[in-house]
Symmetry: C2
Subunit: 226 residues, 2 copies
DNA sequence: GTAATTTTGTGATCTGTATCACAATTTCTG
DNA sequence: CAGAAATTGTGATACAGATCACAAAATTAC
């Protein structure tokens, strides 16, 4: 990898902007860019990791092996750090990350990253902001997931896809219904039933993996009513 | 508040240890210690906040108003920061914190805190570690909460109380059964039924709020079986 | 110490959704 | 393009836990 590539990277994080010339050179030198296709494992729960992962491009799911089954914790769109919380404390990954769209990930050497954190407060500050916003999101997701029932949770996901991930009311679902179930804590069958129901009610239309939101207002209502 | 009190504080955080003499003096100067008794609101969701809260002593619950009801996200034992994620981004508190035992909280001026983060990388690094470990805990809590059923979730909470909070197999439940229900996403009635059942099975014994764990092994088994 | 309030216990009933079982599609793969 | 594999649709059934409705106990307040 060429030195200073990170400096000119079009997808660099807010945190990188805070680095000095010299620091960013070190960063570049200790950083490897790897491409993944849909379905590839980027980070594996239980494995030793000595890198921080930064999702430069693409879409991934973060999932953990729960007591009973695999659970998708959240869907992350580029750009953003992936392995932050997993990399501190012990070096064993506490969760898995899998590409659900073609993705590019930079793996930054953990020691290098830690040194940057320890020596550059601006960098460190941006990382704090980043993690804090994720924590808040998790609190809310937790509350929603356990309080709403299926229709509400599916509406949530559809709206999130449209508004946060694809910026379009028309998109291809990046996961199958089984995974959608894992994401909202329901069974595959129930997901199927609700999607069909939404289509019958004219709220969405489905063809294969393609979903078009027809009546966003209704979806928002169902989402907020729970 | 006397200057440099933070310096000699017996409960100071790992992060404070990284500060210089001068920095800790600034910290002390911009920091107020306030006592709370059980039931007092420490942080209120939706309110403007210009402080970072550090729980010096005591026990609190973090809870958010969900779409349908109040949900307890986690129980926090001193020492530890309370308002970290809430204080970044907008200044509106995204959740509430309420004392469930007599507590002492230091409120640190947000601007001062941010300056420390921005200028002292060691401080900032410790804060990152702190938030990361909470994030991991949340991932797991999320998975547990939605995959286990009531008996498993109640076992979890009892074990957490015994092992992490009180370091004793004999303790007073700091919350009532209604709140316990909020914490594990169940109804008050179901909590009551399961506790009674556990007592009948000789796993625990109850008298008022006092709980003694009699057969920890069984509890651990129920917890892991879900 | 008695009344008021909060918390807990427990039965009866109701309900959302998991599960099972298969059929129908769609998507991969050689 | 055919056969295999994965994904989806849908009915029937089962069940964990919510909810309702009180009674009993325990706390708190005056």
């Amino acid at each position: 990898m060429k030195t200073n590539e990170c400096n000119t990277c079009a997808f660099k994080s807010q945190a990188l902007i805070r680095l000095s010339e010299e620091e960013i050179a070190t960063h570049s030198f200790n950083c490897a860019l790897i491409g993944f296709i849909k379905g590839d494992a980027i980070i594996r729960q239980g494995m030793l990791s000595t890198n921080v992962a930064y999702l430069r491009k693409g879409l991934v799911k973060i999932h953990i092996t729960g007591p009973y089954c695999e659970q998708i914790v959240r869907i992350v769109k580029a750009p953003g750090y992936l392995g932050l919380p997993a990399t501190f404390g012990d070096k064993i990954n506490q969760y898995s990350v899998t590409a659900i769209g073609d993705s590019e990930v930079c793996f930054i050497d953990l020691t290098t990253f830690r040194n940057l954190l320890r020596t550059n407060a601006g960098f460190s500050y941006e990382i704090v902001l980043n993690i804090c916003s994720i924590e808040l999101e998790l609190y809310n997701r937790c509350a929603n997931r356990s309080q709403k029932q299926i229709r509400g949770k599916i509406s949530d996901v559809l709206l999130e896809m449209a508004d946060d991930i694809y910026d379009a009311d028309d998109f291809n679902l990046p996961i199958n219904q089984e995974e959608l179930g894992n994401l909202i804590d329901s069974s595959r069958e129930s997901v199927s039933r609700v999607l069909t129901e939404f289509e019958k009610d004219g709220i969405i239309s489905i063809s294969g993996k393609r979903i078009s939101i027809k009546e966003k207002k209704k979806l928002q209502m169902i989402s907020s009513r729970g």
